[in-house]
Symmetry: D2
Subunit: 363 residues, 4 copies
């Protein structure tokens, strides 16, 4: 098959590799219909994630058809269209039983588990992918949900929803601020709408991104390079600050911002991936009764989000800014890596249907 192989910092190729095969009775093999590229893939290509070895197939998002299932798999059959979750989970360790799949204690070869696809084992930017612990790591796609919409549920939508909105405890009437209006910030904005907030304020350095956020459900926008940005935010509250402040950037400056605008007894939910530590001014905050959360997505709400997409209660199409043939994945990487210029949000890679028959027919 063809796959996007990592060959060390700055090097990758869409090349012929051996097909994956079932290794354990709980595995399935999925034929990819749609996959996408995550900011994390760019980090890997920069060499920032040393755990990724040369020869690794990248990608941890995608939708496809089950083409083979291990002997212990009872709930999936050949032909099932599934979302491949970015988190693989054994389903029976202490963490899995609590739905904290991000910290699954299961094992997969020498590696642990959790985020392993396109990281510690071969991933989804390929024609075929082996998915371990399939029954707790993939989700059947109902009729009416496209492979592109499904692919958005592999990682980005659950991340914004779980780590931003749920950990932030958004509730009816709340004023929510999301600092950082990139894809994951927009995912938080879109899914915050499920919890009845009275306002969702998008905060970003880029005025265009602030405006764009309104298409995803933001009611208000503040450009954070404006001198009075904080006052602008507070003016959208009763003056005491926002109920929930979501950090979706991952740098000390934006973390300081969320601490600055949260009201007493409010919530700060960190979604950003941080490369260095931050200051926590406990001399001011010890008295504030605030809650700060961090986290990697569990994908324990993928099923819920899927129901909402299927019922058109959650609009995800605007996340797709570009589409390419899977064979053109190198062009797609180029487009995605120049997002400031290309306005790329999520770049979809679609496998061409097998000659003579749509995927449905081959299932």
């Amino acid at each position: 098959m063809k796959a996007l192989v990592y060959h060390g910092p700055g090097q990758k190729a869409w090349e012929e590799v051996p097909d994956p095969r079932i290794r354990k009775p709980t595995d399935v093999i999925v034929k990819i219909e749609t996959t996408t590229i995550c900011g994390t893939d760019l980090h890997i290509l920069k060499g920032d994630v040393p755990a990724v070895e040369r020869g690794r197939i990248l990608g941890h998002e995608g939708v496809g058809r089950v083409v083979e299932a291990g002997s212990a798999v009872t709930g999936l059959v050949t032909g099932d269209r599934v979302i491949i979750s970015c988190i693989s989970a054994c389903g029976h360790c202490d963490y899995c039983k609590q739905g904290v799949f991000a910290h699954c204690l299961g094992e997969e070869g020498a590696a642990g588990i959790g985020w392993i696809l396109g990281h510690l084992i071969d991933g989804t930017q390929a024609e075929l992918v082996r998915v371990p612990y399939a029954e707790t790591s993939v989700y059947k796609v109902p009729d009416g949900v496209t492979p592109q919409a499904g692919t958005l549920l592999s990682d980005i939508l659950p991340t914004g929803h779980e780590i931003g909105v749920q950990y932030g405890a958004v509730k009816p009437g709340d004023v929510v601020a999301v600092v950082g209006a990139g894809p994951v910030g927009l995912a938080a904005i879109t899914t915050a709408g499920l919890y009845g907030p009275s306002r969702i304020i998008a905060v970003d350095v880029d005025r265009n991104r602030v405006e764009q956020a309104k298409r995803f459900g933001a009611t208000d926008g503040v450009v954070s390079t404006d001198a009075g940005w904080k006052d602008q935010v507070l003016a959208l509250t009763d003056g005491l600050g926002v109920d929930v402040a979501i950090e979706a950037v991952g740098i000390p400056e934006t973390f300081a911002m969320v601490l600055d605008i949260v009201r007493p007894a409010g919530h700060v939910a960190n979604v950003g991936v941080h490369g260095k530590g931050v200051d926590l001014p406990l001399d001011k905050l010890w008295i504030s009764n605030i809650t700060i959360t961090t986290g990697l997505v569990n994908t324990n709400t993928t099923g819920t989000l899927l129901k909402l997409v299927a019922q058109q209660k959650l609009q995800v199409d605007p996340f797709v800014s570009h589409e390419f043939d899977l064979d053109d994945i190198e062009k797609a990487y180029d487009t995605f890596s120049r997002a400031a210029e290309t306005k790329a949000l999520k770049v979809m890679l679609n496998a061409r249907a097998t000659t003579g028959a749509p995927p449905e027919a081959t299932a």
Copy 2:
């Protein structure tokens, strides 16, 4: 002043009575701008609520201006526009501290407290009303919220929201069924939308009401006189039943219906006011892991709903089917009492502005 006085079963009059005055330091006097009629008022007029004495001024809903405040009142001043909650609450008993204002242990004269306006003390269908424990029993109306919208927050919207939706624990992705699409059922339907359900199914005997419910947020409707009503509901789920079934009628037949359609581990929230007991088939349900709740509104979410109305995140205008001058309250009673024929939902009674000055100017 003028007020609507109850003179025993079947008898009422809009007549001259003495103005109310402050009795305790925690009271305020409110000049009514808008009030409305509740189904409960019709029950009182039938003689079904014997605790209501002859001479009582009816009404427990309304918006107006504070015209006088007791000496202990610090958070309200003359001229404040306020929603009068249908529940009066002392704010400091054990129940009030938990937000269970419906079961306030405070005292008001010989009576207890909770729902007392237009019941045990004089109510809001009048030009002026005394409101006890004002600081925990009225809510300031922000700019941009009309007296009519505010009046809907005295009772009906909080009732649907708290006793239907919150007690029913509606959460994102849920399929919710509301049995009974009258005003309170519609309030449950409208406020359920704040919690991200995937479907809201209106169930009613009347096909027109089922259709009308879609204007309030229902995604689907089922006419319960159809032989296959239950199968129709189940077909809108995965076949196992709804996550949340809200009873908004108050008779044994409809309570049996909600038990019949709830899925294992689902919720049944009873909002209907029942005149007789019902059967609970525990021989079937002991194993079902269901939760059944009952309750009188606490109005502890009035502030939240008010923020949402002010931000236009909650649409309440469709609840107002008719408007009358307050002086025409007897006509309004007639219209409301023939709701099946007049299609009345909520009938608003608006005080005429004082000659020469709008209410704002007199504040």
Copy 3:
């Protein structure tokens, strides 16, 4: 091997049967060390559970050693001592992902799943038992927990804890009443102590059982045949009723009792298995803001209870009233079936260690 086989109403025998063997990659075979008899087994023997076919091995509780594991089982190895949960769960259906194992949608042969051991498939009153979906249906026993203590965690302790105490939402300071001081009521009493109640009141028709309950953590006792039983209960509260009333009998009279003593905004948790429906006086209760729950145990807290037993924070030894050799199981049935006379609570059946080597050595 030897096993206790059901031969139709009133008939059972401890007899030679074929050893069980692995059927699916997710199965394990467990060599029983300790098992016990449940009231449900007596019901089966009366013919009250027609789904149980002749030839079925009874029993759904027990502790033993894994002697063989299917090819998909990664977290268990031969020799592991495990608690066999009374609920078998696939671990990956929608219900399992929520921890509602009682309503697992998985399949096991023609049968569904959930409570299947000793019911729809062969059970634990045997020398060996096949356990399906082992990784989500058994729990490793830590050092320091005896097989007898572990056996109490197969069913009775989780049932009292989850369906009584957790569904009843016991919290610090609460006054809790448990109506019915048999084994499952005592399990609710013992585990309620984990939630900091101020009082736990045991209510039973039998004065001896009321007294005995104090050894399990009850702070107070009321004999329900006393004319003033209700006043006695209310006198142990502020006069308004108990915060949580747990029904642990399963008849209309006791369900009426819990409704009678619960305070406004309190909880009623039904644990009893009911053979007929009950009355629910909604004409009185619609206004009470109460919550009523029902349910079959999920065993999703077995791991938690196990930690507490291991740390001696939960005392379970008093539940064991009698011990027998497994070979004497027919005598044990006789003792347990005459509990009123023998004072039997839980009757433990212990397999004799294999000649020449303790179970540890053979593992």
Copy 4:
């Protein structure tokens, strides 16, 4: 009357001052029976709390009898024995309605509200004290609870309970570590026991304090000056860290410790009062799914703790290390300020009963 008056850094005197009197209808005057000294009082005396003006009577804890009540006070009468909460709360602002009394938006003269006694208004180290917003700021003491036990519920027990244990979300089976075994850490240890943890680990630099903590409910202790302290803590868990880590010191080193020992998906509850900011290593923790909380006590659980003390389910007597006559308060300050040497925990100051009649008789 006599009172302990602050005269600037390092200066205080037990001296004659005018009696307080009712200023607002919601005030009461309380005659102190027992009061105590808080670490915060020592900070004030060092000049660390500049908001405290010269001439201020110190103290924010105590129990006494109501001797006069304002005209709006309905739930308290002369003679009632009450706990004076360290937090004064208006009871009707948005924060109070949520139970977040620490951030009450009410007003008291020019000052805001919340912690004001012995800070912005005169406090409890006096023969008499005026308590504003009395109905939401004092708690009636039931029979069987001593003034000394009640005084422990003014601040220290609710602080450990709410900000340590509740914000830390302790639940059955958890392993809890409390870093800092001073009075407030011991309050967290004692009240954690209400939530069924499997272990409570006391961590402190002082071996004696670690040992002493076991009298308050700690099951294990670790001396943090030991090189292997962290490994010792982890060895008491499954190796992944504690479920809940409570910081009860207030310095960067101990905050770093709690971050170091908390498991993925665990909770860090900060109780310590910090004088400077701390580092938050988000580069490591962004992925950990942890929750960090801060806060000032709300005293919204005072009533609950009071029920538990009354029922002897919460043992608070060991907190009292010394008792003095109220007139000897300057000696008590000396003892308390040398706690390392005197082993002082809480130092009780008891008013002598009025000659000729106990407080009960004068009520």
